[in-house]
């Protein structure tokens, strides 16, 4: 598909570094956890998870995201998608645990909402650099209990999501989902592996995308050759055992960069 034009009808500053862009186009059939390729015309095209059926939530980190932040309500971008494999939805009555770090809350907030209509319990561990950067706290609170951690201790607990995870009894959760910085997810992976819970856990991963449609191979993981853009971005924990996850990723040229 060619990029579809999407007008930005509303923007919401969620935190000092993140903004939600609402479009006049809604991806009703999108699965939770799928992404769209967002074309900032004349600049770049970058992957973004749908944080609502009709919106993306973007953290400003570099060139393309900064240029996106310059686009006002009434402006437009091109969108292709939705692409990739989304989360496996929980079944009726199950209890789920979400572990979100930073902008990793973007795919997990819609999942929390979807889960809360069928699940017996939706618990979230939400981590951020500081209190102002806690993303979608309200959305998670609507769905169930939330454990908050901040790196600098400006809200609740000082520390990392893994500190909370270490104390929870994970055997009480039928499904676990996580998205955040890779180092955070690596530590989550370590704990869940130890607890024997990997098979019940899904990780939403991030690699550099070129084509975004599973052809070029830029986003392939070692040693399986799984494509993050097409076979992922959501992977079951068992698919990541022994992989490059948490160790290195490839840059746009394909060179390995250690974490």
């Amino acid at each position: 598909m060619l990029p579809l034009n999407a007008n930005i009808v509303r923007t919401v500053d969620e935190t000092p570094s993140t903004r939600t862009f609402f479009f006049d186009r809604s991806f009703e059939d999108a699965l939770t956890g799928q992404f769209v390729m967002v074309w900032i015309r004349g600049v770049d095209e970058i992957p973004m998870t749908l944080s609502y059926k009709n919106a993306i939530t973007v953290q400003r980190v570099g060139d393309a995201t900064s240029r996106l932040f310059e686009i006002q309500e009434g402006g437009s971008v091109g969108l292709r998608g939705p692409f990739g494999r989304g989360f496996t939805l929980p079944k009726r009555g199950e209890s789920v645990l979400l572990i979100a770090g930073g902008v990793g809350a973007a795919p997990l907030a819609p999942l929390a909402e979807k889960a809360s209509s069928v699940c017996s319990q939706v618990t979230t561990i939400l981590g951020a650099r500081n209190v102002d950067e806690l993303l979608f706290l309200e959305r998670f609170l609507q769905c169930g209990p939330v454990h908050i951690t901040t790196d600098d201790g400006s809200a609740h607990r000082c520390g990392f999501v893994t500190d909370v995870l270490d104390e929870l009894d994970v055997s009480g959760y039928d499904r676990i989902y996580t998205c955040g910085p890779e180092m955070m997810m690596k530590n989550v992976f370590g704990i869940l592996e130890r607890e024997g819970a990997l098979q019940r856990t899904e990780f939403s991963l991030h690699r550099y995308f070129k084509c975004g449609i599973g052809v070029c191979g830029a986003c392939c993981m070692d040693d399986t050759g799984l494509r993050v853009c097409k076979d992922g971005p959501v992977f079951n924990g068992t698919e990541l055992v022994g992989s490059e996850f948490g160790k290195y990723a490839r840059d746009p040229s394909g060179q390995k960069k250690l974490f």
Partner: protein
């Protein structure tokens, strides 16, 4: 078994260059999916990030791409090649590019320790300034580059041709004169798409190369003409998505085929297409792909 320039392929379908070919792991995965051989991403002398996105889009009639030859350099790719060679279980062909004879030679020598089964010279990428087709549209350059690599390589050398020329046969002959063991045709056809909402060209590089469905008749004609005029084998590529397409390409003159964009539809294309070819040959009482290679030339 299909024999191409001395390489033994268990079936005549190969993974085309630039598709799932940046890492050893992905090449191994494609081999397991049934490809008879795999060609790596085109590898050059220095690391290259490629063009900005969008770098590939699907059209109604095919695909447009302008990746811009992203690659980690031959030095960083060597371990990937070694890994692919170790585990793929099928021939691994190293696609290489450079801006001149020296660069081509440097990359070929640099990858030789990885023991590729053949080199495929990319003199045909339509959208990387100073590389690819800027070499491949000049018969003298093609001949010079081919013989430069042949001098240092003791494995077969294939030359991949661009259709973006008036006379592809002249370029094919230049490759043959330079010592090429086979030619591969075709690379993508120059193309462009414009977003009518904004007037912006869609690809980050503004223009790129067309592949898939739309280029198949172009590829069939190129292969047909090359077969009529060259003495070396031809590997057909461009728009193949079914076994019928592959058979058509073989009848035009291809000894084997490569499949690129169709990977979009699913990784099972290699097994589906090779099984289809096999069934077709069997039903018609043929023993080998070779028996139908170029038969379209005998019909008039």
């Amino acid at each position: 078994m299909v024999n191409i320039t001395g390489l033994q392929l268990k079936n005549p379908t190969m993974l085309a260059a630039g598709i799932m070919g940046t890492t050893g792991a992905s090449l191994i995965r494609m081999a397991r999916e049934g490809a008879g051989a795999v060609v790596t991403k085109s590898i050059g002398p220095q690391p290259k990030e490629g063009h900005s996105n969008p770098s590939m889009v699907k059209l109604d009639c095919g695909y447009l791409n302008a990746m811009g030859l992203p690659n980690p350099s031959y030095e960083a790719f060597l371990p990937e090649l070694e890994k692919a060679k170790d585990k793929a279980g099928v021939p691994v062909i190293a696609s290489i590019f450079g801006g001149n004879m020296e660069e081509f030679r440097m990359v070929a020598e640099g990858l030789t320790p990885g023991k590729p089964d053949a080199f495929e010279l990319n003199v045909s990428c339509p959208h990387a300034m100073g590389y690819g087709a800027s070499v491949g549209t000049d018969p003298e350059m093609v001949k010079a580059v081919t013989s430069a690599v042949c001098e240092v390589a003791d494995i077969p050398v294939w030359v991949k041709l661009t259709p973006n020329v008036t006379d592809i046969v002249a370029i094919g002959k230049a490759a043959q004169a330079g010592g090429a063991d086979a030619v591969v045709a075709i690379n993508t056809v120059r193309g462009m798409s414009i977003d009518i909402h904004s007037g912006y060209p869609v690809l980050g590089n503004r223009f790129g190369g067309l592949s898939g469905e739309a280029v198949r008749p172009v590829a069939v004609k190129c292969v047909y003409d090359l077969y009529a005029n060259l003495d070396i084998p031809i590997i057909g590529v461009g728009g193949i998505s079914t076994w019928q397409h592959a058979v058509e390409m073989i009848m035009a003159g291809a000894s084997a085929v490569q499949i690129g964009s169709m990977v979009y539809e699913g990784l099972n294309v290699f097994s589906d297409i090779s099984e289809g070819i096999h069934r077709f040959l069997e039903e018609r009482g043929h023993k080998k792909t070779k028996d139908i290679t170029g038969i379209a030339h005998e019909r008039f």
